[in-house]
């Protein structure tokens, strides 16, 4: 018996280091589209390079409220992942729910990153009350996609090969009119069935007027309601004048653009892979994407950031070995985010966007300069993707964009909905 026992102990002591040889990192993300395919490639590459040391075990979950609910509930009982993707705009709510672990200055030093590695707004978005809660991986703004062939026909391509004469609301509307008069079915498409999605454009146009959305208790201070109504009015005018189709949902928007029925589309950079793939198959015209033109006083575009966060697993803090493994995963991803740029997203790490390879990448390199003019969601527990703020926009602006109510009424409704949040 005693011999059996000592044999078991011996076996266990051999087995133990072997079991610990590879540190596993449990990874959750919400990347289900073309970018998800690219993320899987990055994970595979990491696992191949770190064979025997670190292994990422990745799971992709449903985007939006389901993902964040699962993270919140599982972290509360210590069953969360070791690392996960997180929208920067959702961080204030996560911090209030005690779901995230702080990223310390030591952690950043280990990864060789500093605040200066990122654009100012992107860095600011992952910090709450002076503490950092995530490492930015990318910036994903909305951009203006264009059909170069159709624009050329209407004389809207400049000498540099990029769309020209679009700055200023009057000029832009004149261009839309020209495109419509030249026989295009539509001049511009963007999602008009979901005010929730269109909020990205509306928020950009609000910012272009120097406006902003405030915070709890004072959501639209000063003359912001007027500016917001003006921003909504831009889209409702497009719909009224027949430039932009009404009540059009997301997939139809992409279909109208890719089938050549509309020369312009406002959408997120995450549709870049769709265009690249179609073009490769020879099913697409010459296309490009640029920063939103300046329709009002200054350039400004809505953006959010996919970042990496470490959940605060209640009762199960990370061991130093696990933590080191997680940091090396984040470091690897940040350093290899050039490949991530093929998904359209702008790598957050400036060292990557400054490389010659990135600067040669089109149309990414053309719109990447917008990171100097980006605006993130207001820092509130009620803001961020799939948040009450987005929902309030969905309810108020869907009706206004399609002419069921006027923009001023819609802004009043939105303000009332936001003021009622508690």
């Amino acid at each position: 018996m005693k011999r059996l026992l000592s044999a078991a102990v011996l076996a266990a002591s051999f087995a133990a280091p072997m079991a610990h040889a590879a540190e596993t990192v449990v990874w959750w993300d919400f990347l289900g589209g073309g970018d998800g395919v690219r993320m899987k490639k990055l994970i595979e590459d990491f696992n191949a390079e770190n064979k025997g040391n670190i292994e990422i075990q990745a799971t992709t979950l449903d985007w939006g409220v389901p993902f964040y609910t699962k993270v919140q509930t599982s972290a509360a009982v210590g069953e969360g992942p070791d690392v996960m993707t997180y929208h920067a705009s959702r961080i204030p709510l996560a911090v209030s729910q005690n779901t995230l672990t702080e990223i310390t200055a030591d952690d950043m030093a280990t990864m060789g990153l500093t605040a200066d590695s990122f654009a100012k707004e992107t860095w600011d978005a992952v910090n709450v009350d002076g503490k950092q809660y995530a490492v930015p991986f990318d910036t994903h703004p909305i951009v203006l996609y264009y059909n170069k062939d159709l624009l050329e026909k209407s004389g809207l391509i400049g000498a540099d090969g990029l769309p020209a004469g679009l700055d200023g609301l009057d000029n832009f509307n004149a261009a839309l009119k020209k495109l419509k008069d030249d026989g295009n079915e539509w001049s511009i498409v963007q999602v008009t069935a979901d005010g929730n999605f269109a909020f990205r454009t509306i928020y950009s146009l609000l910012c272009q007027q120097g406006g902003s959305i405030g915070n709890d208790g004072d959501w639209l201070p000063g003359d912001n309601p007027d500016k917001l109504a003006k921003a909504v009015g831009v889209i409702s005018d497009w719909v009224k004048d027949g430039y932009n189709p009404s009540y059009t949902d997301y997939p139809s928007t992409v279909a109208l653009f890719t089938s050549g029925k509309s020369p312009f589309m406002i959408n997120g950079v995450w549709e870049v892979p769709t265009m690249v793939d179609l073009k490769e198959q020879g099913k697409l015209f010459n296309w490009g994407a640029i920063e939103l033109p300046v329709l009002f006083d200054k350039p400004c575009t809505y953006a959010d950031s996919h970042s990496f966060a470490i959940p605060n697993n209640e009762g199960k803090p990370q061991t130093p070995e696990k933590h080191a493994a997680v940091l090396s995963v984040i470091k690897y991803m940040s350093e290899h985010s050039l490949f991530w740029a093929t998904a359209g997203h702008i790598p957050a790490n400036k060292a990557v966007t400054e490389t010659a390879e990135y600067k040669a990448m089109q149309p990414q390199a053309t719109y990447a300069k917008l990171t100097a003019n980006q605006v993130f969601d207001p820092k509130s527990v009620h803001a961020g993707v799939a948040s009450p703020l987005f929902d309030a926009a969905g309810n108020a602006f869907t009706a206004a964009m399609n002419g069921e109510t006027d923009p001023v009424t819609a802004v009043g409704e939105m303000k009332a909905a936001l003021d009622a949040l508690q």
Partner: protein, 292 residues
Amino acid sequence: MLRNRRSDILVAYLLTAPFIAVYAWLFLWPTIQMVMLSFTDAPLIGAGKSVGLSNYTRMFADPVFHKAVWNTAYFVALTVIPGTAIALLIALMVARLSGWLQSLVLAAFFLPYILPVTVVYVIWDWLTNVQFGMMQGLIEWVTGRPVNIWRTVPWFMPGVAIITIWWTNGFSILLFLAGLRNIPRDLYEAAALDGATRWQMFCRITWPLIWPITVLCLTIQLILQLKIFDQVYLFAMGGRTQATMVLVQYIFEQAFQKNAGGYAATIAVALFVIVVAFSILQFQILRIRGQR
């Protein structure tokens, strides 16, 4: 044979004990906890402090809650009785077929019932797409222009109701068909000999004998439709969710999106009371009707 009644009772208790224990643990205890939660300001996870009746006063003054109650009631009115009537009609027609043809037609009506709600959503969202949907031809013929049903508030609930009837009707048809088969054929033969018309046969034989099945269908439908959530959530996503809000969706929104567990529990208690009240009411009314 005489047996000891007391030991019988003991055995009965012993045999039902596992069920009662599980039922109390998994159903009664959570229900009690939900009621207790409604008196607190708890977030989705963790405890909150007691706030007395303030969740209830807030709920009764909440315009979105009123809207949700109204929309849920409207949806129930649009689906329960019309859906059951349509199921009965289809069952009567299917009953007249026989052999493999009957099985085939029945399968065709039952097929949608086995689809998950997401598939139902994708099919219909596609069919009714305002730019590319096949049904827009029909809609344009009626209204003169394409209509996005899921963003036009007056169209929304009737639209979801039609899809729900299409989706869930197979089950009611199956129940009705089973009921129709249980009616002895000689009753109809005797009636035919007495010169009864088809309509008289339906009113005097089929309808009274199928009544218990009708009650069953109506009760199942009522409870099911009061809990409407998935279809409305999917079709309204991103758009005018407040205008088309239903009760379970509002519970979801408060608990999971707004992190207000206490208030969500309050709405859940309200829904619980409504379901219980409606079920008792319907059961009583249908019983009186059945006894006549």
